[in-house]
């Protein structure tokens, strides 16, 4: 394996500048060829709102998330550190190990492709902090609004097949990932993020080791050449630039597993509370949620016409059973038509045609309900210190004229 060299801070700065500089120059060439008056600042991405350029974090504009299968260009980016550069897929190796693995493995991407059943699944990934911008009082971190979610078609192998090949000991508790990204401070000793999921989730049908998305390789900002994709859990559990998987005999204690990161209070707290680390628990499956991608908020609509409305609904480790829409601030609700997921772990599409009784200002609210009987709240649920799990119903404004 071509070992990825550890970047000194100086190298990191240079590489950062090359990345952005090259993208900035490339835009002049690609703006015309794309046929859009929309030069991509990040090669291969468009329709994203950049929250932070160092580390790079960007979310999709909600009205562009219209496709059932999220195009690669609209898949959000959540980086914690500096992505690897000079990636060579043919030299990439994935190490399978940890206390609870019987036979450690060292696999190339070719090995993965040839030894295990290849699967293509549409799996939903949502950042645990999607919706953080609505927190009151506000909380630190990237102020995600709506677009840190997507459901591309991923190509890879099941985590389960690889772990069974390596052999699991009876004391296996947690699957942990390790990635090739480097720490922002340049400290080579620091792992950027090393999270994962309980072994039961790792062995589920909707947990993949993926090398491709949609019609190509993974996008460099989405983990090229290899990543974990664990549907329905905070996307931080789906490690990018994957170099290692460890099966632990304890709850994994890697970077961003403890403290306040990706953890919420065990018991509900009043907004603004300071919560001790010992009173926090790790986030599991993401709560039920929906997104209206059509119409774009602020649309002007002719009262005499039906308004076609559509979007997506999703939930971790369960299924969405209904989506209801309101145009009167939740006083009455009407059921949308809802499709079954393409596969376990994929989001579901809903649609409806709405009519409005009079001209004026309306909001369309969408509220999904899952197979556990849980629905989206109207207001921000369960304030927590780091701003996770805001699944309040989505609202779009309509001016009926």
């Amino acid at each position: 394996m071509k070992e990825l060299e550890t970047l000194s801070r100086r190298r990191f700065l240079q590489n950062g500048s090359v990345f952005f500089g090259a993208s900035a120059l490339a835009m002049f060439a690609s703006a015309e060829s794309a046929g859009l008056n929309e030069p991509p600042l990040i090669a291969g991405k468009s329709g994203l709102r950049i929250l932070n350029d160092r580390p790079l974090n960007a979310e999709a504009l909600p009205h562009l998330l219209v496709d059932a299968v999220t195009p690669t260009r609209h898949m959000f980016i959540r980086n914690n550190g500096v992505p690897p550069v000079g990636v060579d897929p043919s030299g990439w190796r994935l190490n399978i190990g940890g206390e609870s693995i019987i036979r450690p493995l060292r696999l190339s991407i070719k090995d993965l492709r040839s030894r295990y059943q290849n699967v293509s699944l549409q799996l939903t990934l949502e950042c645990g902090g999607n919706g953080r911008a609505e927190f009151d009082p506000s909380v630190p971190g990237n102020q995600w609004t709506l677009g840190a979610v997507g459901c591309p078609l991923w190509h890879g192998v099941r985590v389960r097949d690889v772990l069974e090949d390596a052999g699991l000991k009876n004391d296996a508790v947690y699957l942990a990932f390790h990635g090739a990204d480097t720490h922002l401070s340049g400290d080579p000793e620091k792992e950027v993020i090393s999270r994962g999921v309980p072994i039961e989730k790792a062995m589920a049908d909707d947990a993949l080791i993926a090398w491709g998305m949609n019609d190509g390789d993974l996008h460099p900002m989405n983990g090229h050449p290899l990543r974990l994709v664990v549907a329905g859990w905070p996307a931080s559990a789906s490690g990018k630039w994957l170099t290692g998987l460890s099966v632990r005999n304890q709850v994994h204690d890697g970077a961003k597993m403890g403290g306040q990161s990706y953890r919420v209070p065990k018991n509900p707290v009043a907004p603004g509370s300071v919560v001790d680390d010992s009173s926090m628990k790790i986030i599991g499956a993401m709560p039920v949620k929906s997104l209206l991608s059509v119409p774009q908020t602020g649309v002007r609509h002719d009262r005499g016409q039906q308004l076609k409305v559509s979007g997506h609904a999703w939930v971790g480790d369960a299924q969405v059973v209904s989506v209801d829409l309101s145009t009167d601030f939740g006083q009455t609700w009407q059921r949308a038509s809802l499709q079954v997921p393409a596969n376990v772990g994929a989001w579901q599409q809903f649609s409806a045609a709405l009519v409005f009784p009079a001209v004026g200002y309306y909001e369309i609210w969408s509220r999904a309900t899952d197979s556990n009987g849980l629905s989206q709240p109207m207001v921000l649920p369960g304030w927590n210190p780091k701003g996770y799990l805001n699944n309040a119903c989505h609202r779009v404004a309509v001016h009926v004229v």
């Binding site: 090359v18 468009s46 994203l48 932070n52 002007r300 207001v379």
Partner: protein, 111 residues
């Protein structure tokens, strides 16, 4: 090289900002001018962009917690006497914003 690329990036950002239908929306990446901004630049922007600060609105306690978190987890060094100046700056320019009513925020009207 670095500065030339920075120039290219700045131009790119400026172009995108001027474009009403820009596909990639780039927020303000400049700190407010104010007493202590040079210290924030020196201590914080070594590792991350100003956007991480600019998009925040936190209480003084939350800012201090954030500094401690950066020191505990991300190699930020002790700030000494400058910590108070930095906190004053962050509180004054990126302090807590509370919503005034129980209703969720009005939807932005863009069209």
């Amino acid at each position: 090289m670095w500065f030339r690329c920075r120039l290219a990036l700045t131009l790119a950002l400026a172009l995108v900002a001027c474009n009403a239908v820009a596909a990639q929306v780039v927020p303000n990446n400049e700190l407010q001018v104010g007493a202590g901004d040079h210290l924030v630049r020196a201590h914080c922007l070594v590792c991350h962009s100003a956007q991480l600060i600019v998009q925040s609105s936190l209480t003084r306690t939350q800012w201090l917690d954030t500094i401690r978190y950066m020191q505990r987890k991300h190699n930020l060094w002790p700030l000494g006497d400058q910590e108070t100046v930095i906190l004053d700056y962050l509180e004054a320019n990126y302090g807590a914003r509370y919503q005034s009513s129980g209703r969720r925020k009005n939807l932005p009207y863009y069209r």
